[in-house]
Symmetry: C2
């Protein structure tokens, strides 16, 4: 019998169609994401091609090298085709019954490493840390701009996940409003807090760790699990185990622990599902306003194994063909060449 | 400068990124949806293969033919791999902090015509009417079942739109709850009504017809336009010009007018965009409860020209690379072989 499961924060229902249940090997990746060249001469993000991008906003680089020259390890540049423009005041206007704002915002690209063929699953732990540190530095900097109400960090991996360039990169969009999905979460957190006087995500972390069947891995500071009302097969969330409102509030040592569990989750997804396309996104507290108090930031990894169709687009209800408990079990049981190294590192351990 | 536009019903913001604006020819279809065989021997929906589907629920057929034999023009069957099961009581339970319901519902397939190679753009007007009449008959029938709170009718056209079978078909899912997206619309309609004492969609129809620049076509009973805050390039909505709460409330003669404008919109999309994949979905009032009063049903056609990525999935904010005004102008200016026939019919006419 299929099940309907409700997201306790957003109140969205998901159909877990167990009759259609699929094993990891039933999903066939449409593109080869495991084999790419280490350097691609025409790639605007490869070293030596720095002038093919707009001038860099920030970079981690060897002390003696200059901005927009090679020698960087992480490089942040404006998106060449931005969805929003950073210059200008925030004009609001009506157009009859409609509301419109001019498209003020920031759209930046975080080039994660010089190597064309890596990803956060295969980068060194140090590279992952620098990538995360640059996420945070950009959040802190952009929060100064009072026009912005939300900063969305996301990563598109593979063409079917919307990546138009192969070279490993994340993106950041700063928005002049709080987007609908985040508002739903903010309202859900507040509603739960009002009723229970506890954070909904803190409760979720406790229940998931206690129950264990949806946990993929955990370390002292973070837990990775397949959410109860997962919209997508093999969706994985990573949450701070204690209440941390915003990604920008994380410390350097906690980001190291976060990098370790993120990398482990991505390695498990790669080897369990044969290097699928995926998206991940940081869901964090809104900025420059009051609506942030009860938030508990998290990261959602969404492998692109199935196609959303008219039902999902019309109703907002997703049909998930793999029960999250099954997905977590498969991910826990995955062994990968890189796994041994991560585990001997002592930073993360899977649940029984 | 990009624009942020707000859906006046759901309050969702959309980014219209005019700097990235794309013309119809910039979108390249990934599959050939214009050329299919008229009959496909292994297709479970082709005539003669009726026993490859579960037994039919309803059909339009020649008087002398029997159920599950050839001779039908429209055929409704249960989905062989249903997302929800029609048998059983609606059990609700808690699982710690989570809510769960068993997956009671109906999942039906409307096989739109015997011909494997047609679509609602190329079927005869009579076939489109029968397809719509069967949509309505199934809605009326399933509304009798008090377990159901919403009936979602949708069509997936092409593989990238989620269609797993080529043969022209629509689907229907009856749900034991009102899905999130419909709730947002119900609440938005009620909020607007409370403030203005007018229906938001009635106002929208008036403004769109008065302004004209987003209108694709209109007839006496319906209007087709590209919505102000369209999430997708070349998204088209069709609305009743007068206040009609539910799709099931439509009369036979009005469904004829709806069929004509739907067919015209799909023909324009086919010829303007070189036969793209698309989804359409009927958005209508919930059933078996009070939450239906202020609703105004409509149909949304969403061509699948771009890929949703991490930003859209995380924030719920869509980036639309074609301004709805441009999309409507391109659709209005499209000429197609079938167009002359539709127009000489006198049922629809495009705006200047």
């Amino acid at each position: 019998m299929p099940q309907l499961r409700k997201n306790p924060v957003t109140r969205e229902w998901v159909i877990v169609a167990t009759e259609r249940s699929r094993r990891p090997t039933d999903f066939k990746p449409g593109e080869d994401l495991a084999h790419r060249p280490a350097f691609s001469p025409n790639c605007p993000f490869c070293p030596g091609n720095e002038l093919m991008t707009p001038g860099e906003i920030e970079s981690y680089r060897a002390g003696s090298t200059r901005p927009n020259d090679p020698g960087w390890s992480v490089r942040v540049v404006p998106n060449k085709f931005p969805a929003l423009m950073v210059e200008g005041d925030l004009d609001r206007a009506g157009e009859g019954m409609y509301d419109v704002m001019n498209g003020v915002g920031a759209h930046e690209v975080i080039i994660e490493c010089p190597e064309h063929d890596l990803s956060p699953a295969t980068m060194s732990p140090r590279q992952v840390e620098e990538m995360l540190a640059s996420y945070r530095a950009r959040c802190v900097d952009l929060t100064q701009d009072r026009r912005f109400k939300y900063i969305n960090i996301f990563r598109n991996h593979g063409r079917v996940a919307g990546a138009s360039l192969e070279h490993p990169h994340s993106q950041l969009i700063a928005l002049p409003m709080v987007p609908q999905n985040v508002l739903l979460e903010v309202e859900g957190c507040a509603r739960y807090y009002e009723f229970h006087e506890r954070c909904v995500y803190c409760d979720m972390v406790r229940q998931e760790i206690g129950q264990g069947d949806r946990v993929v891995s955990l370390n002292d500071d973070f837990v990775a699990f397949c959410p109860f009302a997962a919209k997508y097969p093999f969706e994985v969330w990573i949450l701070p185990r204690t209440h941390v409102r915003s990604f920008a509030d994380e410390t350097e040592s906690r980001l190291r622990a976060f990098g370790a569990i993120l990398q482990e989750a991505l390695v498990r997804i790669d080897y369990c599902l044969n290097f699928p396309a995926y998206n991940y996104t940081v869901v964090t507290a809104p900025i420059n306003q009051e609506r942030e108090r009860d938030f508990h930031w998290h990261l959602a990894i969404m492998p692109r194994l199935t196609v959303s169709a008219g039902f999902e687009m019309g109703s907002g209800v997703h049909i998930n063909v793999t029960a999250p408990e099954d997905a977590a079990r498969h991910l826990r049981n995955t062994t990968a060449p890189a796994m041994a190294a991560v585990e001997s590192n002592g930073q993360t351990s899977s649940m029984p």
